[in-house]
């Protein structure tokens, strides 16, 4: 029982980290109606920005995370304006293919840039809070507790912004109907910029937070990028609530599944398969995902 509780607690911590990455991807999809295949690389850039802010300039590690979010936000705004804006101005005919090619190519580009600029070496960001805390048999790194707390705060802040502010309402309006929102005075292009910027900034924040825990390298974004896609499909494309619940579910099933698998010595080898299995079951029962609506295409 003690082992089960310890694993569940670990799953919750991992789930919160997944949520931070996946929410951004979900927000981008809900407003822009595209899947950002460079999301994992934005997560990686956030990790490196945060690392260099704290190691080169001696900035407090927590503050570095927020600065890295700001940097990735600006990067996202630039990417959206320069590369994705043609999708919404009528300049591109085959929109779906264009979006896939641009974001996928951007991911490869960012990975190679990171490899050349930062080097291939594995790095560790400075600790947020050093030391460990004991909870029964579960001894947890204080960084994980700090990161879970920070992730929770960021998620709640985002939910408040989306649900209770004018900007949030405008984003939701654009996600529901771009033309109707334009009629009532909302600028959809500006909301695109904002949604993409916030979405990748959340991924960048997750990268910055993960630095002291899972270490950083130019290829660190590949798997989280794929997992966040699994999560948003699981939770329902474009649903932020779905992304949060999907993340927590994935965190739990990976943590518990890899230990309580029939053959525990093989459980870790199938860790990534558990998420896909969960996804397959959910999609069989509910093709739009847990909280998804009927698929909406880019017009």
């Amino acid at each position: 029982m003690e082992l089960f509780v310890a694993q569940a607690l670990n799953g919750l911590i991992i789930g919160l980290l997944y949520a931070l990455i996946a929410i951004g991807l979900s927000l981008i999809f809900s407003v822009l109606k595209i899947v950002n295949f460079a999301h994992g690389e934005c997560y990686m850039m956030g990790a490196f920005f945060s690392y260099y802010f704290s190691t080169l300039f001696g900035i407090n590690p927590i503050l570095s995370v927020f600065l890295s979010m700001a940097a990735v936000f600006l990067l996202g705004v630039a990417i959206q304006y320069l590369l994705l804006r043609p999708l919404y101005t009528g300049a591109v005919e085959r929109k779906d293919e264009y979006a896939i090619l641009i974001t996928f190519g951007l991911g490869v580009f960012l990975q190679n840039v990171a490899m050349s600029v930062f080097g291939p070496w594995t790095k560790k960001s400075p600790d947020f809070i050093s030391g460990i805390t004991g909870i029964g048999i579960f001894t947890v790194d204080n960084n994980r507790l700090a990161v879970s707390g920070a992730a929770l705060v960021i998620i709640v802040a985002l939910l408040v912004i989306i649900g209770m502010t004018f900007v949030g309402k405008a984003l939701r309006a654009v996600s529901q109907d771009r033309d109707a929102s334009a009629i009532v005075g909302i600028n959809p292009h500006r909301m695109n910029l904002l949604a993409f910027g916030i979405g990748v900034a959340l991924a960048g924040g997750a990268g910055g937070l993960i630095g002291p825990i899972f270490l950083i390298s130019p290829v660190m974004g590949i798997l989280p990028g794929i997992k966040s896609f699994v999560i948003i499909v699981l939770g329902g494309m474009g649903s932020i609530k779905g992304a949060i619940i999907g993340s927590l579910l994935l965190g739990e099933i990976e943590s518990l599944g890899s230990v309580f698998f029939l053959d525990p010595t093989r459980g870790l080898a199938y860790k990534n398969a558990f998420g896909v299995l969960l996804l397959a079951i959910v999609l069989l029962l509910k093709p739009t995902g847990l909280f998804g609506e009927k698929h909406v295409r880019m017009e």
Binding site: N10, W121, D141, L268
Partner: protein, 399 residues
Amino acid sequence: MKKTLFVIGVALLVALMGGSSVWCQESIVIGGVAPLSAPGAAESGAEMKVAMEMAAGEIGKILGKPVKLQVEDTRGLPEEGTAAMNRLADAGAVGVVGEFHSAVAKAEIEAANERKVPLIVSEAWADVITGKQYPYVFRIAPANSLFYTKVADWVKSIGAKNVVAIVENTDWGLGVDTVFKENLPGEKNINGQAISYTSIVAERTVSDFTPQLLMYKSMRPRPDLVMDIFTGTGEYLIVKQAAELGLATTRETAMFPVGTSALYPEYWETVGEYGVFSITKTGYHPLLGVTPAIMEFNKKFEDKTGKTPTFAAMEAYDSIYVMAKAIENAQATDGDAVLAALEKIRYDGVLGTIWFSQERKPDYMFHQWPGAKAVLIQYTAKDQKYTDAELLWPAILKP
């Protein structure tokens, strides 16, 4: 006018073709293969490349022709290894040396054999690499079975009862795991107690080992030794997460990161104080004996990079010299002549006198250098260089 242009064009074409053939004849190409970028172990690949360049630069000429070293990045991916070998064969490489990852080397030996290009595997340990007994494949690094059976003896000698491992799902990792599975479970330790060995296999991409380490922590009796059979980021993460959970290194449980990554400064940058008292392996340690050749190599390498070389660099350096000497001895550049020369070679390198066994039993001994050494060391302070770590267990490897 058209006729003049045609004549000039043909003349240029002939000059270019003739020029390229002269250029090909005037240099001897030796190929290098190493992981220079992720997901491969780039830190190892980078130092191997530096060592290869140093050796090629020092050799300068073979058979009166300048040596051209062409190093290809295999990224730790088998398909990249095959492509690199084919590119090098197409470029006219007389021989190829290097490689760090067993899975990649396993792909490269197929290409080497098919293209009839002699390949000296510098630092990949899976038995199968020489175990396939391909005529064109030689190896300087130890075979897994040669070294890890001795490590199993060491485990028995320290009185360990409960040994656990997390193993990367690669040819090297699974090979090491197999050696331990064959040599530890049910065997008696020095105190006459039966040893249990439990291993968990994981993909190289896994970053959270906490669930499995928690499972090991809840074992009774508690594990005496945690084997971290990973390389690169995974190797660092297991050391870090085991320490964060209070599993190892503790008074009851030792941590043994088996991969080469524990020898680099990045180890301390990523695991910090959790690396103190961890045990690891190295193919070179000053207490094994510092020859003038080692001192000279270390000095040149440190002058060039500012870093202490590991045995991976020494193996790569020696590999180039061995290949060059074989070409010189063969007085020819065709694969069969170089192969015959490699089978007869005796070369006094940085790591010792290198020669290749012709024994076919056990299978991995064919074209294997039997003199490769590896020892166990233990770090006793944070940020310690591996050359300053305490020598825990010396073993001279013999077939």
